[in-house]
Amino acid sequence: MKAELNERLVRDLDQGFEAMVRDYGQRLFAFAYAMSGNAADAEEVAQDAFVRAHRALRGYDSERIRELQVSAWLHRIALNVLRNRVRRRQPRLVPLEAELQVADRGPGPEGQALNRAAMRELARQLSELPTPHRSAVVLRFVQGLSYQEAASLLGQPEGTVKSNVHRGLAALRRRRQLSEVI
């Protein structure tokens, strides 16, 4: 099925791109949501990543498109987008309205087994982790990649990713215990 998407991209870039957004839109949005901690930023990041992907694809020849590992490639672009935003970002206070507006457009984070508030709380806690820990935890558990996949996506040794996951999870657990006590 993956190879099929690559073939579609080779055959007709715009049609293939549409299929790619349909296939990976939710996944990339969820990634951006877990990484950025709120829905408004998540939509911007995911959209920006797709727009960049489209621009990049226009410059690729057929060979390069055929060899693309689409999912990992999109995640890497999204990581870049996130990194660039962090550089220029001011201390972020999420305006409540923005969050609600996005949520109002559709099912959004609510309507899940995890209720909306819990989901947001988890995303917020994640956003407080240092980036290396957060990326590792999100790729491994939220996106369900293997350590090997996460390591190759991040361009880090597997051992580093494992230890970052370990530290990230430990920090999350501490925070949760803390918030329960309070």
Partner: protein, 232 residues
């Protein structure tokens, strides 16, 4: 301990907001094309993507590929507009060529009778003038009202071209006539309703307001729906 991992996994199932895919596709400028449209008030550029027409404007769109003509079937991409704005524009699409409706008519028809000014604002910001005929919405006192795509003069010109007779309408309004009834059918209409135009001179009865028409035993036309809750 396991709970945390399961919750993280569930976070991965968070659905993207509605319309996300289309917003991405249009942000990437996929399949964007445009064509020129000649009208009585000059040349416009119509731009569309796979979802439908996105804009009509005086300026040539920057991206996009020039097409020979408009898409055969016109659909509209109203992505990014509020629900209210979309409702106003969809309602406006129902106004037939050669006819006009008032801002308050649109407000009433979309179930927001008090939002008359907001209807005016939504129409002023219509991203797809001409094709979504916001020029067919005028003030109920017969004044032609504002027009984003070239001012009141341009609006008058298109209405004239479409056969709506804006001057005649203003004349009626100055005389205080808001509705026209037919002595033979006992039905009253908005003056530009196609049914009102077919009333013969000797059978035409002017009314100042819907109460007067109803008192005289006339019922509102079901085509142009001139009055609020006629039966109430």
């Amino acid at each position: 301990m396991e709970t945390l991992e399961r919750e993280l996994q569930e976070l991965g199932q968070v659905p993207a907001p509605r319309g996300f895919v289309n917003r991405v596709i249009s942000a990437a400028g996929v399949g964007e094309r445009y064509a020129e449209l000649e009208t009585v008030i000059g040349t416009f550029f119509v731009a569309w993507n796979r979802a439908g027409v996105t804009s009509v404007g005086r300026e040539r769109p920057e991206g996009g590929e020039k097409a020979d003509g408009l898409p055969r079937q016109l659909r509209f991409d109203l992505e990014g507009l509020t629900e209210f704005e979309q409702a106003v524009l969809r309602k406006t699409l129902e106004i037939p060529r050669g006819e006009v409706r008032s801002y308050s008519w649109v407000a009433r028809e979309i179930g927001r009778p008090r939002a008359v000014r907001a209807v005016g604002t939504a129409l002023a910001n219509n991203p797809i003038p001409i094709l979504i005929p916001c020029h067919r919405v005028v003030r109920s006192d017969g004044v032609i009202g504002q027009y984003g795509a070239g001012g009141p003069e341009a609006k008058r010109k298109i209405l004239d071209f479409e056969g709506a007779d804006p001057d005649g309408l203003a004349r009626l309004a100055r005389q205080g006539t808001r509705f026209l009834g037919s002595r033979t059918t006992r039905i009253f209409c908005l003056p530009t309703c196609n049914a009102a135009r077919r009333i013969q001179e000797q059978n035409r009865v002017p009314f100042q307001d819907e109460r007067a028409a109803e008192r005289a035993g006339y019922r509102p036309c079901s085509r142009c729906r001139p009055a609020a809750q006629a039966s109430a």
